[in-house]
């Protein structure tokens, strides 16, 4: 069944877009990531203009992460203090990211920077996650059970001043690294058009030692707050949010996220991290291929008369 998208200006198959929403929603619910880094390339692949894809995906991610967050809320698996502290840093990061975005676009090199950012971030994060979780799995097979939270193995981060107690996560760390992580996520999110959940989750686990129990729920709260803000900003400034496309995506996405969240709770933490690491790495390699392999057509066109 074909439906014409009013802002994207193309007809799409409703069931195809619904299925894409379901699949990405399942992944986002399972790993606590927004799924923007998967959905945006998929939409571009079916013919949606990149700018419309990025803007509409923010709406989809808002719905999907809100649905996931309510599930975690009922399980009491959200650290609200941590989420709000991260958000405080994220606001300034987003402002800085938008400023850099505008500057790079004026230089005509935005596409390259976005491509390189995707490759670098996804590959590094993917390799780190796969390596760490594989070691954890090997250790668990050898029968030696080693907790992620090792007392006495504190990094320099834990020696910083301005300590705050995050009760739900049972951690006592300085506010400085929390605000810094929020800033980095906001900054990268604004440039790459992603919520940044796939970066936030490992940062919270490895740098702040947030336990797996609260990390996904907290990440979802931050994602949904930033994505609601991004949807409103995109709609008010660029007029590129396709509400029809977003609605089809989010109906699939929220249903998928529910099943994903249940599935995620049944899988052991290290296996979950290995799967997410492999997924992140494969998307990173795909972007690397686009940059390294000779393109089918070295020429490309871009409308410069403005999008209607």
């Amino acid at each position: 069944m074909q439906i014409y998208l009013p802002i994207a200006d193309i007809p799409v198959n409703v069931f195809l877009v619904l299925a894409m929403g379901l699949a990405v929603g399942f992944i986002s619910g399972m790993f606590g990531v927004g799924g923007g880094f998967l959905m945006t390339p998929l939409l571009i692949f079916i013919g949606v203009q990149p700018a419309v894809a990025v803007a509409s995906v923010t709406t989809h991610v808002a719905a999907s992460s809100f649905s996931g967050a309510t599930t975690y809320w009922r399980r009491n698996a959200i650290d609200v203090t941590l989420a709000l502290t991260l958000l405080a840093g994220g606001v300034f990061g987003s402002a800085g990211g938008v400023a850099l975005f505008t500057w790079l676009r004026a230089l005509d090199q935005l596409d390259l920077v976005i491509g390189l950012s995707y490759v670098t971030l996804l590959s590094v994060v993917g390799v780190l996650m796969v390596g760490e979780s594989a070691r954890a799995i090997v250790r668990s097979f050898q029968g030696r059970r080693i907790e992620l939270r090792r007392p006495g193995s504190h990094m320099w981060i834990h020696g910083l001043p301005l300590k705050l107690r995050f009760k739900r996560s049972k951690i006592y760390v300085s506010a400085i690294p929390v605000l810094a992580i929020g800033f980095i996520i906001g900054f990268i999110g604004a440039i790459m058009g992603i919520g940044g959940g796939f970066l936030l989750v490992p940062m919270l686990i490895y740098l702040l030692r947030v336990p797996t129990a609260t990390v996904i729920g907290t990440s979802m709260v931050l994602t949904f707050l930033t994505m609601v803000a991004a949807t409103i900003l995109h709609a008010a400034t660029n007029h590129l949010v396709d509400a029809v496309l977003a609605l089809i995506l989010m109906v699939g996405g929220v249903i998928g996220a529910q099943f994903g969240a249940h599935a995620g709770q049944r899988i052991r933490g290290e296996w979950l991290r290995l799967l997410l690491g492999l997924l992140v790495l494969s998307v990173g390699l795909r972007f690397a291929g686009q940059l390294i392999l000779p393109p089918d057509n070295p020429y490309s066109i871009r409308l410069i008369g403005g999008v209607p």
Binding site: T70, A235, P298
Partner: protein, 258 residues
């Protein structure tokens, strides 16, 4: 009576003497003047039909005829970029800006263009994609570059997207003077005003031409969404965000298992 017939003959020969262009009249029309985009729009086909009216006083003259119809869509500037390998990765290194090329261009003809008229006429009358002017911005100057790889790349990409096409057999003559052609508009064509320029050839010479036009517009729900997004961006954004939260909340209630 004989005198009147002679006068008519003289009159007819006088007209004939002033030039063959006055002998034929070209009349063309489209099946639709406006294409409405609704939510089940997946592209549309328009039929162009027309007739060649010969001079009644000289029925023996004329034909066989050829028709070239050029459909041109709204114009919008396009930047064509070329990637080159720099330090192992492919980077856009060069670009050209094309000033207001047509966003849609279909050249429909009754025979291959080079069989209809000679190269000089094709160039002068801007017949076919190759002869359509695509001016570029060169150092703050606007000019035509004929052997430009950027121009060729633009045409190739537009052809791949079915936005530019040249159909040498799209116009069919049902009788020696009555013709029809189907204009295929794929779903991705932009909205706006389109012009259809119809030229009539006989033995390689342009003998008549006429214009027609149609528009592609969004209506109903599609138009409502576009207007809301464009004119009330902030309100539209809040409504979309609220829709997202409602959808998320309904799903989490509907799928509640604990």
């Amino acid at each position: 009576m004989r005198w009147a017939f002679a006068a008519a003959l003289i009159f007819a020969s006088l007209i004939g003497g002033t030039g063959p262009a006055a002998a034929e009249r070209l009349i063309a029309s489209l099946t639709k003047q406006s294409v409405l985009i609704t939510s089940n729009y997946t592209g549309v086909e328009l039929v162009l039909f027309g007739t060649v009216e010969r001079d009644a006083a000289d029925p023996a003259r004329g034909g066989p005829y050829d028709i070239v119809a050029t459909v041109t869509g709204p114009r919008e500037s396009i930047r064509t970029r070329r990637k080159q390998r720099v330090l192992g990765i492919w980077v856009n290194t060069q670009a050209r800006s094309f000033i207001d090329p047509p966003s849609y261009l279909a050249v429909l003809a009754s025979r291959p263009l080079d069989a209809i008229t000679n190269a000089e006429n094709r160039r002068r009358l801007q017949l076919g994609i190759a002869n359509t002017p695509l001016p570029e911005l060169i150092h703050n100057d606007i000019g035509e570059v004929s052997n430009d790889p950027f121009r060729a790349a633009l045409i190739q990409i537009m052809r791949e997207r079915d936005l530019y096409s040249e159909e040498p057999n799209a116009v069919t003559f049902l009788t020696p003077t009555l013709f029809r052609a189907t204009i295929v508009l794929p779903a991705q064509v932009p909205t706006g005003n389109y012009t259809v320029d119809v030229k009539l050839f006989e033995a390689g010479n342009l003998i008549a031409h006429t214009d027609s036009a149609f528009e592609i517009v969004k209506v109903g729900f599609e138009q409502f969404v576009v207007n809301a997004a464009r004119d009330h961006g902030l309100l539209y954004g809040f409504a979309t965000a609220l829709m997202a939260l409602m959808t998320g909340w309904i799903a989490s209630v509907a799928f509640r298992r604990d």
